[in-house]
């Protein structure tokens, strides 16, 4: 290669064109900002005038026109031309004739290995091993064609190994394989290779790090589905309770009741009984369901009423309980009666109090019978029961068409009240039952009295355990009534014949005048003994067993005997009162009275005090109450007090309370007044120092005895 460079003539022109290029260059610089195209054109324009670099060698023209020839040779221009080597043989430096002209411009160490080399084959073998099995199957049928067998699992290798060879190799190997038929697996493989090779290039995958493919397989993921079922939640209820002492107790009591009931059911095994029981149960339940809520508070209503009354009558209640008249200390031997409550009922206003009785069991409950003593004005009657706890309204109200004249409460069955009417009937009221009609009533057929019944008195149960009571009436009969199988049966005990008044009637019949009994009383200890007071003023001592004769007769009063009472302690003493203004105390063995008191007015009623054998009270029609204590004063009352407000008001009855120091007084205006006995009226014998205080019936009896003895001595 030769190349020659000619210097152009314009070289000298360059000098002349010196200032111009500079201007052009300056122009160029000025036109830096202009488009490249513009510059380029300038350059082409400029090619006419040469640019001379400032450090160019300045040469003459001739020198410029000289031609220099350059020749391209294959010699390395950098190779040294005279390399000398020291020759030890000659001992001198000798020039080397041949200098290596090789110039290495670029060298790169590569990592390619020729396939035929050992290393190449080794690598091919390894590669074929890796991708062997897949091609085995394919290999086998072709093998079968080829007629070679026993390739086994190594078919792949040979196949791989043979791949690179392709054309020429295949032939060589085929020859080899045909030579060594069996035993050499590799040979077999080689033949197989030949057959397979056309396929392989397509299928083979390079397992190198740059072309890594992961092989994974995934089974079908079954789609997940949530399946749940929900049942109805069990019914829940919040339960809370407290376990108190009383809840435990109640539970035990309930259990006990149930047990007892079951025992009772077992006992009463008769079907009738059971039916009755069931009926009762049904009735009870039906009643409960029908009744309004408000009936369930009856008890509470009662209590509240009592509470309210307690508030209203608080001072009276306090007096009743605690007040003791201090003035009694100064009042020598005299006492007072402090008025407490007044009991009245609207509908009983016009009716007189005809009977009073304290309940034997409930000491604050008393019964009041209303009727009329007036023969002309006979109205209806009422039976009221009051309690001290509720002064404003009676607890029980019973009304009857006929006036009630007397009443008595049974000792053992305090809910049974025996009542005698003005028309001669008797009846029994049961307080437990709500209706206002008597439970049992006598009638004309059953032997009622023909006159008003003045007194009734319960007796002990007879031998058949039937309830019975006695009644006395103006028709002269004393009748015993027995409650037999829900019926009142009567038995005449005695007829009061007035002795000495037999008149001879026609046909020599002795007609007796019948006395009218007005009161009676039974002896406390001697059961059969009783006293009867009559309208004529006589008192008969009778016995239940003797029906025709009296045991004794007392000429007691001039007028009708209003009341006759045995002394609660002394078995011999009794007292009687009459409208002839007198109160008389008797010893039943002696015909004449022990003590006689004149009270200036018809005495309505008398009563012995339950706490002392010598104290008694009497009430008169002038509205006064008299209290006597024979120990203190034998001749006069120690208390003499008007009790009722209006003067025309007659007091009809008086009763002591069994435990409280009060008396109730009934008047003929239908009002019952309760009075408290002052301490002087309740005097107990003074305790002597050092001696035990004797209380009790014996003492009382002794006390009275002493008195009586005095009197008897005087008389006798």
């Amino acid at each position: 290669m030769t190349a020659s460079v000619q210097r152009d003539a314009p070289a000298p022109g360059l000098r002349s064109g010196g200032p111009q290029p500079t201007t052009r260059t300056t122009r160029k610089r000025d036109e830096d900002a202009g488009p490249d195209v513009g510059e380029g054109t300038d350059e082409w324009n400029q090619s006419k005038t040469l640019i001379k670099p400032p450090d160019q060698l300045e040469l003459t023209e001739t020198e410029l026109k000289e031609e220099f020839t350059r020749i391209l040779t294959a010699n390395n221009p950098h190779a040294p031309q005279n390399i000398v080597r020291f020759s030890f043989k000659e001992g001198t430096y000798k020039p080397i004739s041949f200098v290596d002209q090789l110039a290495v411009h670029f060298s790169l160490v590569g990592n390619m290995i020729p396939k035929d080399s050992d290393e190449g084959r080794r690598q091919n073998y390894k590669a074929e091993m890796a991708s062997g099995s897949q091609e085995v199957v394919e290999v086998q049928p072709s093998e079968a064609e080829g007629g070679e067998g026993g390739e086994g699992g190594e078919g792949g290798e040979g196949g791989e190994g043979g791949e690179g060879g392709e054309g020429g190799e295949g032939e060589a190997k085929e020859a080899e394989s045909q030579g060594e038929v069996l035993g050499h697996e590799e040979m077999a493989e080689a033949e197989v290779e030949e057959v397979i090779t056309p396929k392989k290039p397509k299928e083979r995958k390079l397992t190198n790090q740059f072309n890594f493919s992961e092989r994974a397989s995934q089974t079908f993921n079954n789609p997940l589905r949530d399946r749940d079922c929900q049942m109805e939640p069990p019914p829940r209820a919040t339960f809370s309770a407290t376990a108190n002492q009383w809840e435990i107790y109640d539970a035990y009591m309930d259990e006990l009741e149930k047990q007892e009931k079951s025992k009772e059911m077992e006992k009463a095994k008769g079907p009738v009984a059971k039916k009755v029981g069931k009926m009762m149960m049904r009735k009870k339940t039906s009643l409960e369901s029908q009744s309004d809520d408000i009936t369930k508070v009856t008890q509470a209503a009662k209590i509240v009423e009592r509470m309210v009354n307690q508030n209203t009558y608080d001072d009276i209640a306090q007096d009743f309980k605690y007040y003791e008249d201090a003035a009694d200390e100064y009042r020598d031997q005299e006492g007072t009666l402090l008025p407490l409550w007044k009991f009245q009922y609207d509908k009983a206003k016009r009716l007189a109090v005809t009977a009073l009785c304290w309940n034997p069991k409930y000491k604050d409950l008393f019964a009041v019978g209303h009727g009329s003593y007036d023969f002309m004005k006979q109205n209806r009657g009422m039976l009221l029961l009051y309690t001290l706890k509720n002064p404003s309204f009676p607890e029980y109200i019973f009304s009857s068409e006929c006036g009630i004249m007397c009443l008595d409460m049974h000792v053992e069955h305090p809910y049974l009240v025996a009542v005698g009417y003005y028309d001669g009937n008797v009846a029994i009221y049961n307080l437990k039952k709500p209706h206002s009609q008597p439970s049992y009533k006598s009638s004309a057929k059953l032997g009622k009295h023909s006159e008003p019944v003045w007194q009734v008195r319960w007796q002990k149960d007879d031998m058949d355990n039937n309830l019975n009571f006695f009644s006395v009436s103006s028709d002269g009969r004393i009748v015993s009534w027995t409650l037999v199988k829900n019926e009142l049966m009567h038995t005449d005990i005695i007829k009061l014949n007035v002795e000495g008044t037999t008149t001879e009637g026609p046909e020599e019949l002795n007609v007796y005048t019948i006395g009218c009994g007005t009161s009676f009383d039974f002896h406390k200890q001697i059961d059969y003994l009783f006293l009867v007071g009559t309208e004529e003023g006589k008192i008969y001592k009778c016995s239940k067993t003797y029906s025709s004769q009296f045991l004794d007769t007392f000429e007691a009063h001039n007028m009708a005997v209003d009341a006759v009472i045995w002394n609660p302690y002394h078995s011999k003493v009794f007292m009687s009162c009459s409208s002839d203004w007198t109160v008389k105390i008797w010893d039943h063995t002696i015909k004449k009275p022990m003590f006689v008191y004149d009270l200036n007015s018809a005495v309505g009623d008398i009563a012995w005090a339950p706490y002392s054998s010598t104290v008694f009270a009497a009430v008169t029609t002038d509205g006064k109450a008299h209290v006597f204590d024979l120990v203190i004063n034998k001749y006069e009352a120690i208390c003499n007090q008007p009790v009722v407000a209006k003067k025309k008001n007659k007091i009809t009855h008086v009763r002591f309370n069994a435990i409280h120091p009060i008396i109730i007084v009934g008047d003929d205006r239908g009002q019952v007044t309760c009075l408290k006995l002052s301490p002087n009226l309740r005097k107990m014998p003074k305790e002597k120092k050092g001696q035990e205080v004797k209380r009790g019936p014996a003492v009382e009896i002794a006390k009275l005895d002493k008195l009586l003895n005095l009197v008897r001595e005087v008389k006798s």
Binding site: Q245, D293, I294, V304, E305, V308
Partner: protein
């Protein structure tokens, strides 16, 4: 049934009684003579107090039972009587009456 009504009437007409109220076992007023708000207030408060008092009494002695409850204050007195079926321990309601008690106040001051 009429008896209870009469009793309630009598209580209401008694001197010094301001109002009465009947409450059932759940504390709901059945009958009242007071205005609604007062009734509701009293019923709620007194019910709890009565229950507590009853529980106290019975806790001390299970055979005992509350008879009534009096609350005396400067201005009034409230009386509550619970009604129980004895033996079953079931509460059937109660009655309350309010009364002015100036005289009682004076006694309380002593």
């Amino acid at each position: 049934m009429a008896e209870v009504e009469e009793t309630l009437k009598r209580i209401q007409n008694h001197k010094g009684v301001i109002g009465t109220m009947v409450v059932n076992a759940e504390g709901i007023p059945i009958r009242t003579t007071l205005d609604n708000s007062t009734t509701v207030q009293y019923a709620g408060l007194l019910h709890q107090l009565t229950m507590k008092a009853k529980s106290t009494v019975r806790d001390i002695d299970p055979q005992n039972d509350l008879t009534f409850l009096r609350i005396r204050s400067k201005k009034h007195e409230v009386m509550v009587a619970p009604d129980t079926l004895l033996g079953l321990g079931l509460d059937y309601g109660w009655i309350c009456a309010g009364a002015t008690c100036p005289e009682l106040c004076s006694t309380l001051n002593m």
